[in-house]
């Protein structure tokens, strides 16, 4: 019996060890030859169909390419070598680059381009929130390498929007499901510099250089993207050499960057300002529906302190929703100065009196609301906690609530928030596409503006902008709408965001694209 007892233990231990060791495959080989770049993302790549919005942008943009590309210098050729726009702004003709094939061998010609546009058009209700396909009257492949789009009315952002990976990138027609992509694609086959060679859901994804790429072959032949959801763990992994690069708008906080400055093996890289980090107040609620409350909050926010204290000056304070440096946005808006006395005065005048518990109230309603933030973004919680304390000094009771990316987006879209960290489009979508999106529940803008008395005028103004032909007319309309939004005080700009990269020394060519969500892996090299 004793023997049995010990034997039992022995067997148990051996069996367990075998299971454990056997199960552990050498899943990932270390990136020994420095031809592999190891990157980390906070979640899985998910569905990379570029005609829909359910996957990670950085991956979609190295697999698929659109007709044109937008850079700091403007619109550049990509799959289209050149293009014409008719004087009335209604006809766009594209001359497709010759000799381009998809990674499965299919030829990219005007027929393939038309197939792609037809697939996107078929799903136009999905994209109608952004007016992307609404103006389209017809699309045709004039000849083998000429593609023409005719619009019902002029839509000036068309060219810039066609430069977006979503939804206008080209998928191989062979990969479509019966010529359609709205229910998904059979494989992620594009014309881009990389192909997706291996995926282990929620663990890692491997991209290898596309042999058939028409452009300059990328120097880095293989990219491995590990899924590391926790921010700190990502940083530790970088420190430990398990990953080579952290890149993104909100993946690195200022403290970390400061800490890495002393380490000689790492390089930090910052882009110029690309978008505005801002909060959005829901005018369709009881408390924040009062414009005086909104204006008081504007005056109660110390953006200098946020810029200096939380961002260590990496992000500069912002006073307007769109930086005046962006075209059409220098309209002379008067900033809401940080002035606590003014904020208090505004609230007093509006009838919000401090109660015995220090919280203001008016007509039995407490000045109390909740700020929603995304817990996957590294600095939002800190900003939220800071503001919570600051507003408390004025008798404003703000609770904070953090949710993961998916449910945060869902809640924001559905308008289920009092105050939220809005998602900024950034260049080159600012200001035209971001404003176009204000007319429908894409991010939080639509829901937040619903309670505004001049919402109808705002929407009308935006629609007019999109259809405008002359620069002068456009500028006037922008001034009108932007001033309205500024006076309505629903947007609380905090800082100008910049893209940040932290990587191991040795990696070269780390740069920033005009689109903040793109990571130009093809320009990196060792």
């Amino acid at each position: 019996m004793l023997q049995k007892g010990w034997k039992l233990v022995g067997v148990l231990v051996t069996v367990l060890l075998l299971i454990v060791l056997g199960g552990c495959s050498s899943g990932e080989k270390a990136a020994v030859e420095k031809k592999e770049l190891v990157f980390a993302n906070f979640r899985d790549i998910r569905d990379l169909n570029p005609h829909l919005y359910g996957g990670e942008m950085y991956a979609q943009s190295i697999l698929f390419e659109p007709l044109v590309r937008v850079s700091e210098k403007g619109v550049e050729p990509c799959l289209a070598e050149k293009w014409d726009i008719s004087p009335d702004g209604k006809v766009y003709t594209f001359y497709i680059r010759k000799g381009v094939t998809f990674s499965d061998g299919e030829i990219l010609d005007a027929k393939a381009v038309k197939a792609n546009f037809d697939a996107v058009y078929e799903n136009k209700d999905r994209h109608s929130l952004l007016d992307r396909m609404k103006p389209v009257q017809s699309m045709e492949a004039v000849d083998d390498y000429t593609f023409r789009i005719t619009l019902k009315y002029p839509y000036y952002p068309m060219l810039i929007e066609l430069g977006g990976t979503r939804p206008f990138a080209m998928v191989s027609p062979k990969a479509m499901k019966n010529g359609s992509t709205k229910d998904g694609v059979n494989a992620y086959i594009g014309t881009g510099p990389y192909i997706l060679s291996e995926v282990a859901t929620d663990k890692y994804a491997v991209f290898t250089a596309n042999e058939k790429y028409w452009g300059k072959p990328p120097a880095i032949k293989q990219i491995r993207v590990k899924v590391i959801s926790d921010n700190q763990t990502r940083i530790l992994a970088l420190q430990n050499g398990e990953i080579d690069l952290i890149y993104g708008k909100d993946m690195l906080d200022a403290e970390t960057l400061k800490g890495f400055k002393d380490k000689n093996d790492f390089v930090e890289s910052l882009s110029g300002p690309i978008s505005t980090r801002h909060l959005l107040m829901n005018s369709n609620t009881n408390v924040l529906g009062d414009v005086n409350v909104r204006k008081a909050i504007q005056h109660a926010t110390n953006k200098e302190a946020i810029s200096k204290g939380i961002f260590n000056d990496i992000e500069k304070p912002a006073d307007a929703l769109y930086s005046p440096g962006i075209k059409y946005c220098d309209v002379g808006l008067k900033p809401y100065q940080y002035d606590v006395a003014q904020a208090n005065a505004l609230l007093d005048q509006a009838g919000w009196i401090k109660g015995t518990d220090g919280i203001r109230q008016k007509g039995g309603q407490k000045l109390s609301f909740t700020l929603l933030y995304c817990s996957d973004r590294v600095t939002e919680k800190t900003i939220a906690e800071y503001l919570q304390n600051e507003y408390a000094k004025l008798g404003i009771q703000m609770g904070i609530r953090g949710e993961e990316e998916q449910s945060y987006r869902d809640n924001m879209k559905a308008g289920k928030f009092d105050m939220v960290f809005n998602i900024a489009w950034g260049t080159p979508q600012d200001p035209q596409t971001s404003m176009a999106a204000m007319r429908a529940p894409v991010y939080g803008d639509y829901a937040a503006q619903l309670g505004l008395p001049d919402k109808v005028e705002i929407d009308k103004g935006i629609t007019a902008i999109l259809g405008s032909i002359s620069d002068g007319e456009r500028q006037k309309l922008f001034a009108d709408v932007l001033t309205r939004l500024h006076e309505d005080a629903v947007y609380l700009p905090l800082t100008y965001e910049c893209n940040k990269a932290l990587y191991r020394k040795g990696l070269q060519g780390v740069s920033f694209d005009a689109n903040p969500y793109r990571i130009p892996f093809e320009r990196m090299h060792y």
Binding site: L16, R46, R126
Partner: protein, 313 residues
């Protein structure tokens, strides 16, 4: 004996039914409308009341409670646990199947650590009762039980991965990735089992048969190995065995800290994403595992320990 086994197995059936019922009630109580969630997740641009009503009819949400319960139960038995709300392309069973091996690996290695470490230390601690070794061990054991698991994990991570660079910080991929998380999980249990084994051996040492064996002149060593351990081990092994489901479910926090892609991590993500089908399936899975393991180890214990068999009559 066989009669006992059958009786026990039959007794678990109502228990399992109760568990499934509880799980189903749980899902029924969720505040959000499943029809609306499905529509939203499929990225339908504008959701109208008519769409929701249609989806409710499609999903059969308007049928009476028990009809839905038995339909769900039937689905479960056939292996269909539904579709993830967040990623409609993934089935719940698929998600669980994908993540379960990782958790089992973690639990497995933790169990190995527990057995390898707690047995010798527990025995030595009992044998050298009240010596400095015993006191130090008891002290360490105390502190480890009192430590929040995630803190212990973070400290280990900082020490072994950052300071000493011996192991990778997180993620999966090889044996070294498994070591730290497994050790962290095992910490809580090691302390408990060291105490259990120690107390058990001490208990046994006071028994009459030990006195008798001493009187017969057997060596201490022989008494220890041939008699005391035999008796202590049985209850200890059963106790360890019964805690296997506990081990599997207890990996949640550690998986979160070390980014280990197991079922626990899936559960936490699902809670934050409000992916109710997955939460429900996870709770069901663990509940069933608990019942099954308890049953198995009850039977093993009954088979192994003659004293308990006597009680059956």
């Amino acid at each position: 004996m066989r009669y006992y086994i059958i009786k026990r197995m039959l007794a678990t059936v109502p228990l399992l039914l109760g568990i499934t019922f509880l799980c189903f009630v749980f899902i029924d109580l969720i505040p959000s409308d499943p029809a609306e969630v499905v529509l939203r997740v499929r990225q339908i641009a504008i959701i109208t009341e008519a769409d929701i009503a249609q989806m409710r009819a499609d999903l059969g949400l308007d049928d009476p409670f028990f009809v839905r319960y038995f339909r769900w139960l039937g689905d479960c038995l056939q292996g269909n646990l539904g579709i993830s709300y967040v990623n409609p392309t993934r089935t719940v069973v698929g998600e669980l199947a994908r993540c379960l091996p990782a958790t089992l690996q973690l639990a497995g290695l933790s169990l190995v650590f527990v057995i390898i470490l707690s047995l010798p230390i527990g025995i030595l601690s009992a044998v050298y009762k009240d010596s400095w070794f015993d006191r130090i061990i008891r002290g360490i054991v105390f502190l480890t039980t009192a430590m929040p698991v995630y803190w212990a994990g973070l400290l280990l991570m900082w020490l072994l991965a950052i300071k000493l660079s011996l192991l990778p910080t997180s993620g999966s991929g090889g044996f070294q990735h498994l070591l730290m998380p497994a050790f962290t999980v095992s910490l809580t249990y090691i302390s408990t089992y060291i105490r259990l084994i120690r107390n058990n051996i001490l208990e046994n040492m006071k028994q009459d048969y030990v006195l008798y064996a001493n009187a017969r002149g057997l060596s201490q060593r022989s008494i220890l190995f041939n008699h005391i351990l035999k008796n202590s081990l049985q209850s200890c092994i059963t106790a360890i065995g019964m805690s296997i489901p506990q081990l599997i479910s207890g990996t949640i926090v550690v998986e979160n800290v070390f980014a280990w892609p197991g079922v626990g991590q899936l559960c936490i993500t699902s809670i934050f994403n409000r992916d109710y089908p997955i939460i429900q399936a996870y709770v069901l899975l663990v509940g069933v595992l608990f019942v099954v393991f308890n049953l198995i180890f009850d039977i093993i214990q009954m088979a192994a320990d003659p004293r308990l068999r006597k009680e059956l009559g």
